[in-house]
Each structure stands twice: as structure tokens, then as C-alpha cells.
Symmetry: C2
Subunit: 525 residues, 2 copies
């Protein structure tokens, strides 16, 4: 549970204090929201606790992102006591009325409940958590401070998840049609999307790939839904901006594509440049599946994958990843560091034992070909809120203490939430942070250049010293970067920050392709 | 205009670039929101420009604060082009649908308009700005990127402010009753609230005070609505937590109190501990006035003050402040710095030539007795969002370049938005920042102590070096603090940060009174 205490949460914080380590404070509420999001992506649920108004309303963006990217975050706000509200006084942190925050949160969550009555509270709490898990979306609970500690009944059983099973006839028809389509295919392939990870379908997908022999690509948002070490894993497919030509040829050349739990979003599809005929596509969302133009209501990706595995009689494996070799990278001594070399170096060294967190922007696009282990890659590849990666390291480190968080973040995003690094060592999280210092908003420069893309030039390598935690180093050549990276990865005892200086206009090939496309739209207006 | 660019704002940013300095970038959108708020408090309007979703939804809290504290901020968000929305695609930064942000912003603004048609755009823009000024509240405009640059008609005349005049009969009755009440008073007094500053009534109030000889106190939120150098100015009144006993006696002992444009909020009234009988109170809000229990609809504080000044035939002065002596402070050499000495030192040195910005918490309560010049004090003394003071310095410095921003901020709040200091020198803003390092959330410790009040121990004095801007120093004795403060105030060429270390449990007397009161409520739940 991540958060920032306020006077309306103090009773809750006091109760949580009985179990040391349960509540983890962050510098700003935004950081708490992102940390809880990362925790939820890795552990199936994440909780954030903040005060009313000044706390909760700072969380609207992170909660919106959780909704947009299907992340089950539970937002809890401590609010004024019911008794204090009599006569509608002007209490601190109040906006228009006592319900402003509730209304706002309803717009960005899947469920919002007010714990204003001990009689109804257990059911509301149970429903909130069940909804978060079932829908894989954020929910909101508001807790007046004078109800904290009041006795209430036990939590009722809310089926979790009560995953409405589809109509057996619809499911059977869907599976029949899918199997017939696939049987007629000469070059079938699978695209694995983010819901495979969110709904825990990795082992089922593994069974399906083993039984069919179909190659599997991922979307950018779904990256690490399949582990890079799975033998059938091919890489990330993103239409015209796929960086791996082999993957692009594989999918664009397939005559049937089984798209599992993927968002058909602009960033996932290289701005809708995929070359896949609708007639050749079987696409399965959370609650509906389409075979070509035909829709099968209620048949979600869970039902489809399980149904196919059952029909194929495929054994669902007990999964032990066997690390594949990462492509080697040999730095050129004294050569100025560029984006291409930087990501090649990262690819050669990151994978097993790491949770890689790539900030939106070039940190993400350049990371498309990294080889994380399963669920070892976090990025906001759809909603794309800057400032995510640093605080996400806190959530990731606590969610998976067996893996070290490795953050890849640009200078612009680092300036939003970099201070969150200061508190991580307190809870035993010691990330490696690679700050790509390319002197401004590099993602925007190719679209539209102007003074607005310039940002203050900070000394990122000094931050660990100023924050009182860890060690930083600044490098600007290939060999120095590799040496600093190796040194940082070897030292797990503390935060290690590597400021990697790259030329201002040197972006990854993937980003160049994307921003050229985006720039056309900006200019045509 | 403060903001962070995104691909949906680039056309707007490109146009703004034609006038260098018009757009000022910040590290995070939160900082832009707070900077625009400070600018608006000092100049009557402030604008923030951000991208859709990831930008706008980060501004919900700062916009809510502007609503709560009557600040006319115009929030502009660049959004996806209308043509891009066809078929409801999953574009990056989208939450539930294309209207999520509009709905959310409607909850925290006074007016929200969508510039989706060149035919209606001029009227919507004019109404938005007129509403912001007239109501002294934030408004919201959403601009699809493909309408930027389309020709449209001229801005229509929207009366600004079209301040509905009250019914003359109601106004006359109100003024009659007010004058009769005041005539019968032996010890009348005035409390000046925040709307006196927002609605520009300072000169009228000056005339009223001169003509009547009534002493004037301020609320905490209204601090500097009257200049400390005005001869009738007495200090801040806040019920039982008024730090100046003389002011408290003056107001609690008055037999008629004229309360002008003040919020009757918990923090303004020392948690509703004022000792003023309703029957003895004349209270004038933005659109209604009460004389005792009788209400006069449509008679706002503007009408009341102007009406009284007219009736008294009082000349409205051409105002030239004559600085009063600030109370002296002589530091004890080698004595550990405490909160009391710290604020005494600040009081002895701050005033003319400064815009003092006090963060919520002890930075604010301890600052109650500072002697700013008129409109020379900014604080969020009602909504009380932490993280305000540092970015507000940017807005204040640009709004009033003749005055130097002096920030008083606690360590907890500094960790939220301290990085915003990095960019201020670029636009010629060189604040003095006093970081009160008392090792955690000192405002909460007296209410409820626990590990949740501990924060990472950062080296605040190192921040200027890490941010690449200015100079920092750390002090922990009275004499060293005074020397560092004098040195910082004398050097206007750069950012100067003074890390003032005070004992963990040493808070100001005002805060101790307040938190003891709040603590009772927390504990009784």
C-alpha cells in the first residue's frame, strides 16, 4: 500500500502501522499512484492510500492510466468525518462540495464506493476488490475518518472472479470457427497482448503455442506477456514501426493471425499501419471474440485460450524459463554514445533477474527489442503518462523482490518524478536507473521543433548524493556506458544511477519512424 | 502561460513560440498548474497549457485548489484532432472516451468549453475568460489539434466583469442596516478576507478604514489583502490559534465585526473557535451580505464596500505604501535554530520587495505574523495542497518581477515539487528558498505519530548544484541562519537555497495550538 498521509488518513495509517512495511510512503501522491500501478501489474492488485482532495485529486492521472491500461489499482482516500460535515462547513481540502472527489473518481474508475455505513461497508469493500480483479481496472473507496475502527460484519463472499461463463453454444460455435480458420491456414501466427499478462494466461498460451507450433509476437503494451526465453517467442510487432523486420514479415505475411488480448491502439499498431486483413484475423478481447467479421459475445480471451487448449488436449506446462542467449554487444572505445548503441548494450545485459521499466518516449521505443523475462517489462505503452518509470521501480521492487528494477528514463520524464528515488532504499529497493540525457523532449523534436522542447540542464549523476541515497555516474562514450552499466548491475547494495549523455538529435530508429508518422499528422493539423 | 508540451499541443506551442517568453515550461504539469495559480493571484488571470489526458488529468488537483480558493486560472488542453476521432480509435492518452477529461474538468471549474467549431470558438473563448474574471474561478478550454490555425471571427464583447448590480432597494436597505449597526458599536473592527485581494478592493478598503478609523485584521487566507504597512493594519486573526494576542483580543472584544470577503473555513477560524456572535457580525460574501441573521441577495462585498465608501464620502486614496519598521531579531550565536527563532528572523527581514510564498503546514502557520507588503504573501490557506510553494515562485516571479519570491517550505512538501527550481533561472526568476528541514511531516506528528510521518533524509542544500542552478547552504544555528538568509537576500543574481535544520519536534506555537485541536478530532475519530 503506497501513499502520502494526511490528517484525514491518520487513523488508517495508525492501524496500518501495526504491520510495519505494509504502508510505504512516497514523496508525492503521483509517485504513490504509479508505484501501486506497477505493483498491481506484477502481483494482481495494488493499493494506494491518500488523503481527500489534495491527495485524491493528485491521483486522477495515475488512476486514469490504470483504467486505460487495465490495471487493478485500489485507490483509498481518507475523508472528513461524517459528523464534521454537518452544516456543510468549509473544511480544508474541500472543493465544490463533499462529493466532488467521488464524482471525479467515478469518471476514471470501474467502481466507486463510499464507506459511510458500517452496515454496508463490508459488501462495498468486497465488491470493490472483486471488481478490480474481475475487470482488471482501478476502483475507488472513500473512508470518512470517523468510521475507521467502527465494528462491522465480516467481508461477504463476492465470487472472485465471478467471470460470467459464456453461453456454451456461443463458445462452441466460436471455438469451431476458430479451429476451422486455423486449420485452413498455411502461415498462422499469434499476437499476444497485455491481457494475457493481466488475466494470468501465460501458461495457457504456452500450452497453445507448444501444441500448435505457432510463432508468437507481442504488442508493445503486451511486451513480456510472453517471456523472451520461451522458444516460440519472436519479438514485438508494431506494424510499420516494428524494429525487427523478421517479426514484421512474420505477422504481415501470416494468412491467419490470432490476436489475444491486445489493444488495437495507435502506439501498438505503428499508428494503424499493420498489414493484416480483418478477414484473416481472430481477435479476442476481454469479453468478446471476433472471427473475421463475426462476433461471439461473452467469449473472452480467457475462454478462447482455455477452450482451444482443452480441445487440443495440450498439457499446460509447469513453467521454468531457460534463459536464451542475449545478443552480444561490444562497445567501441571512446566512441560517443548514441541511442542505438545504448539500447544494444542494454539488450546484451538485461533480462533474467530484472524488472525492466521503460518510460514512455524513446526509452520505450528503443526498448522494443530488449529481452526481458516473462512479466519482466513494464511500460505505459498506451496511455503513455510521463513520470511513470521512476516511481514504478518502487512498486516493482516490492512486488518482485527476487528481481532488480532497471529503469530506462529520459531527462524530461526524470524531472517529473526523479525525487521518488530518495525513499526506495528505506524499503530495500535499489534500482539501476539509466537516465538518457539527450537535452530535452527528444520525442517531440522530430514532430515540431521549438524552444518548448528545451528543458533545464540538470546534473542527473549528482541526484543520488542530493537525495542521500546511492551513487551516480555520468558517461558519454560507448565503453564508459558499458562499464558503468556493468558496475551498476553488479552492485545490488544501493541505488545506482547512470546518466547516459547522448546527442540531442540522436533517437532510436523506432522512434524516428514513429515521430515521422506523427509529425505528418501534427503538420497537417 | 505555463505548461508542458505534448504532441497534442505542438501546433499551439509552435504558434506561441512566435512570441518568445510567452510559454514557460515546467518540469511537471503539477508545477505548471501551481505557477499559473500564483500568477493569477497576483495579476488577475493565469493560463496553463497542457496536453490531453496525461497532462490535463495531472492538473485536477491544482485546478480544484484554484476553484476552492477563488483563483482565475484558465486551463487549456490540446486534444486529438476531430478527424482522428472517427471510429472511436484507441489513441494514446485516451481514458474511457474522448470526453473523460471534459467531464472531470467540469467538476473542478466554473466553465468548460470545447473549441470544436470555428464558428462558436470566439464566443466560447470570450465567455471562458470573462467567467474566470467575473467569478474569480478556474475555467477550462479543450482545443482539438486540427482546429488550431483555422480562421474564425473576432472575439465578441463579453462584458468583463458584467457584475450584475444588485437591486437598488436591496442595496439601500443593506447599507442602511449596516450603517445603523456600526453607528451603535463601541468597538467595531474589520476582518479582511481573500476576496478583497481577488476583487481588487484594497483601495476601497483603505478609504473605508481611513474614514471610519476601524482597525483591520486579516484572515490567514486573506493575508496581505491589506498591506502590513497600512497604518490601521493589526495582524492575522484566526480564532483561538491567533498568534498575536492583541489581534485576538481586538476581534473577540469587538461588539461589531465587519467581515469582508472572508472564507469561514476551519483553518481561517482556528477550527471554528472564533468568539464572535452572529448577531454582532456583518459578513459580506461574493454575492450576498448578511447583517446578523438578515440576508441581502445580490449585495456582494464589492457593492457593500463601495456603497459605504460612497455614503461616507471617503476619498479613495492613491496608494503609496510607507514601509513600517519590522520587529528586530538578534540571533543567539551558536544556539540551535528552532521554529520560533526562524520565523522571528524571517519577520525581521522580509517585507517590501518580496513576494513571500508559504507552503501549507508549519511554513504557513509560523508565517502568520510576517509583515508582507500588500499582495506580497501567497499561501493556500484553505485548500492546502502540499507542493505549491516552490512552483508558485515561478509564477510569482514572472507576475511581479519587481519583487523577489521568497519561499518558505517544509522538507515534506519540498520533496513533491522541488525539482521545479531547476528551470526558473532560464526566465530570470531567482527566488530565495528556505527549506525547513525538521525531518518529516511535522504538522502530523502532534496529531498522530507513526513511521508514516518519516520521510527520506535528503541533502536539500545540494539541490541547486544537482539542478544546475543557484547555490545552497545548510545551517542549524540561529546566527548561521540569519547570516545565510542575509547573504541569500543580498544576492539577487541567482537561486539561493537555505536548508534550515530545526529539531524534529520543534514546531511553531500556532501550529502546536492547531494540531492539538486537530489531534483531538483525529483521536476521537
Amino acid at each position: 500500500m503506497f501513499g502520502v498521509p494526511g490528517d484525514f488518513t491518520l487513523q488508517l495509517n495508525h492501524m496500518l502501522d501495526q504491520q510495519p512495511g505494509l504502508f510505504v510512503g512516497t514523496s508525492d501522491e503521483q509517485g504513490a499512484g504509479f508505484a501501486a500501478d506497477a505493483y498491481a501489474r506484477l502481483r494482481g492488485i495494488g493499493v494506494v492510500l491518500v488523503t481527500w482532495g489534495v491527495g485524491g485529486l493528485k491521483l486522477v492521472n495515475s488512476t486514469a492510466q490504470a483504467w486505460a491500461e487495465s490495471v487493478p489499482v485500489v485507490v483509498i482516500a481518507g475523508s472528513p468525518g461524517l459528523a464534521e460535515r454537518e452544516g456543510d462547513p468549509l473544511l480544508h481540502h474541500k472543493v465544490k462540495d463533499f462529493d466532488t472527489q467521488m464524482r471525479v473518481m467515478q469518471d476514471v474508475t470501474e467502481y466507486a464506493g463510499h464507506l459511510d455505513d458500517p452496515g454496508t461497508a463490508p459488501r462495498i469493500i468486497a465488491e470493490a476488490f472483486a471488481t478490480a480483479r474481475r475487470e482488471s481496472r482501478p476502483v475507488y473507496l472513500e473512508v470518512p475518518r470517523d468510521v475507521v475502527g467502527l465494528p462491522c460484519g465480516p467481508l461477504p463472499e463476492v465470487p472472485d472472479p465471478p467471470d460470467a461463463e459464456p453461453d456454451p453454444e456461443v463458445l462452441a460455435a466460436c471455438l469451431d470457427d476458430v479451429q476451422r480458420e486455423l486449420a485452413g491456414a498455411g502461415h498462422p501466427a499469434i499476437i499476444s497482448g497485455v491481457l494475457v499478462a493481466r488475466l494470468g494466461l501465460q501458461a495457457q498460451l504456452d500450452a497453445l503455442a507448444r501444441a500448435t507450433g505457432y510463432p508468437v509476437a507481442e504488442t508493445l503494451l503486451g511486451k513480456s506477456s510472453v517471456g523472451s526465453d520461451d522458444p516460440w517467442f519472436e519479438g514485438v510487432y508494431a506494424g510499420a514501426i516494428s524494429s525487427d523486420q523478421q517479426v514484421r514479415d512474420l505477422i504481415d505475411g501470416a494468412d491467419r493471425v490470432l490476436v489475444l488480448g491486445a489493444y488495437i491502439s495507435d502506439l501498438n499498431t505503428g499508428l494503424f499501419t499493420t498489414d493484416i486483413d480483418r478477414a484473416d484475423t481472430i481477435i479476442s478481447h476481454q469479453k468478446i471474440t471476433y472471427v473475421g467479421v463475426r462476433g461471439y459475445d461473452g467469449v473472452g480471451v480467457t475462454h478462447l485460450v482455455r477452450g482451444l487448449v482443452d480441445r487440443l488436449g495440450a498439457p499446460v506446462p509447469d513453467r521454468q524459463p531457460v534463459p536464451r542467449e542475449r545478443p552480444a554487444f561490444t562497445p567501441a572505445v571512446g566512441t560517443p554514445l548514441g541511442a542505438t548503441a545504448l539500447f544494444q548494450a542494454l539488450r546484451s545485459r538485461l533480462g533474467p533477474g530484472h524488472t525492466i521499466i521503460a518510460e514512455a518516449g524513446d526509452s520505450l521505443f528503443g526498448s522494443a527489442d530488449l529481452r526481458p523475462e516473462e512479466s519482466g517489462f513494464l511500460a505505459t505503452a498506451y496511455y503513455a503518462s510521463l513520470g511513470y518509470a521512476v516511481p514504478a521501480a518502487l512498486g516493482a521492487g516490492l512486488a518482485r523482490p527476487d528481481r532488480r528494477p532497471v529503469v530506462i528514463v529520459g531527462d524530461g520524464a526524470f524531472q517529473m518524478t526523479g525525487l521518488e528515488l530518495g525513499g526506495m532504499a528505506r524499503v530495500g529497493v535499489n534500482p539501476v536507473v539509466v537516465v538518457i540525457n539527450n537535452d530535452g523532449y527528444a520525442t517531440e523534436r522530430p514532430m515540431m521543433e521549438g524552444a518548448f522542447n528545451d528543458i533545464p540542464r540538470m546534473r542527473y549523476a549528482m541526484f543520488p548524493e542530493a537525495l542521500g541515497s546511492g551513487t551516480g555516474v555520468r558517461v558519454d562514450t560507448e565503453d564508459a556506458f558499458v562499464a558503468a552499466l556493468d558496475d551498476a548491475l553488479a552492485d545490488t547494495s544501493q541505488l545506482r544511477l547512470v546518466e547516459a549523455v547522448t546527442p540531442r538529435d540522436d533517437i532510436s530508429p523506432q522512434l524516428r519512424q514513429l515521430t515521422t508518422e506523427l509529425g505528418k499528422r501534427v503538420k497537417k493539423g
